[in-house]
Symmetry: C2
Amino acid sequence: MATVCDGLISPYLDKLESRGPFSPAARQAITDLPAKLRTVARAEDIVREGDEPHSSCLVHSGILSRYKSLPDGGRQIVSFSIAGDMVDLQSVLVLVADHGIRSETAAKIVMIRHADILRVASEHPEIARALWFDTLVDGAIFREWTVNVGRRDARSATAHLLLELDWRLTQRGLTAGDSFELPISQADLSDALGISPVHLNRTLQWLRAEGLIRTNSHVVTVLNRDALVALAGFTSDYLHPEGPRML
Amino acid sequence: MATVCDGLISPYLDKLESRGPFSPAARQAITDLPAKLRTVARAEDIVREGDEPHSSCLVHSGILSRYKSLPDGGRQIVSFSIAGDMVDLQSVLVLVADHGIRSETAAKIVMIRHADILRVASEHPEIARALWFDTLVDGAIFREWTVNVGRRDARSATAHLLLELDWRLTQRGLTAGDSFELPISQADLSDALGISPVHLNRTLQWLRAEGLIRTNSHVVTVLNRDALVALAGFTSDYLHPEGPRML
DNA sequence: CGAAGTTTTGAGGACCTTCAAAAGTTGTGG
DNA sequence: CCACAACTTTTGAAGGTCCTCAAAACTTCG
């Protein structure tokens, strides 16, 4: 189930370096982080609310969700994590998990111990800054998500979610032209949008009928990007591709 | 308009120290941060989307909001900041603001330059860790906000917002028994809840009629806390009063 | 091929919105 | 200190978005 390998961190290192260079020493410290690869099935809980995890995880492949549960059994997904994302940097400093992490698809994840993350962060201020920045972009995504469920109707919210995923997947080279895989059921997607599965289904039908998207067995194709962007009111600004302030 | 004074940082220092002690040197470094007091009127923009601010601000008194605007003129408030909160730690590392900051009431704010924050953070790893933790709690509040607008109906969402404010104000000693001041118009509150002003008005009337709260010229009194907590599904866990992991 | 899960369809109803106007409150200047 | 203007809260009514329940059609997988 869990094996120790080299090079497991490189997707995350790539992501951090796309935002600015590291010194050779810092680069090496990240590469040398002890990491364990773990394979998880679809719909598996990785962290439950109330847990006190001792590791963060990096997505190697697949899609994870971060979600909060409600007393009535409802679930609100607050973000999706894709390959190259460090999930739950939160738990490095916050002892008790206030939200759950679950695999929405079968996935491979890389476990990295908090103690090791804290060590490299304190030894290399540039790493501390990169991790802090990553946390800040996380926050920006949460804010946009709030706008999505709070102020956009189902059509533009759905369009916005698809465009965010498309944009982030493209950043990692995980799209093929205007198409990307999204092997997530409508029921789970509706938990991300704060709407009912039935209504999401009708919304998707409308997006297809308008010629904005096509879906084929969990492959989404953007057919009319301009119209979709206009409907969603999407800009990638909040994802901060420009990277952190450099000193 | 702007004056340099001593002791302006102490409310924030108190907040950070409530989560764990600092070394004397770190404590002094925070106290010595150059700060300027600024008085702002109600409904004044402090940061606009697209700005590149060079300072973060600490709330000395009053309430600020962080919000995102929509193409159609709509507005979604994603959090309120009260006395002792450091607002926009985000902009320390993120150059371009992806959201606005506005005074919801008349307020006094303390401006602290990013360069100074970065300096003390890099000189004192314990400060860097405290600021990172603060950012993580910020993220937790955004997530809960997403749940509020996404999965709770107007009644429980409103109850939840009031309880969050009550809890945070109590932490700072800004409540009087079960009452606290909330000098914010219903129109602005509805922007925080993602509902229309008219519907918020009816929701507040319902909360009053049920005997859960009383409102008197912008003073909110919690009359039946147990029922309000049950309605909202509120716990303070996500606000992480326990503080960060200690090494 | 059967079982389990997922998507789709239908219908009725609840929640929330919009528009418009009245009633109440606050702030300011004469 | 009152009068007026501006703003905020409240009320009413009609309509749209979205929800729930329930069942049928379609996929996927063992």
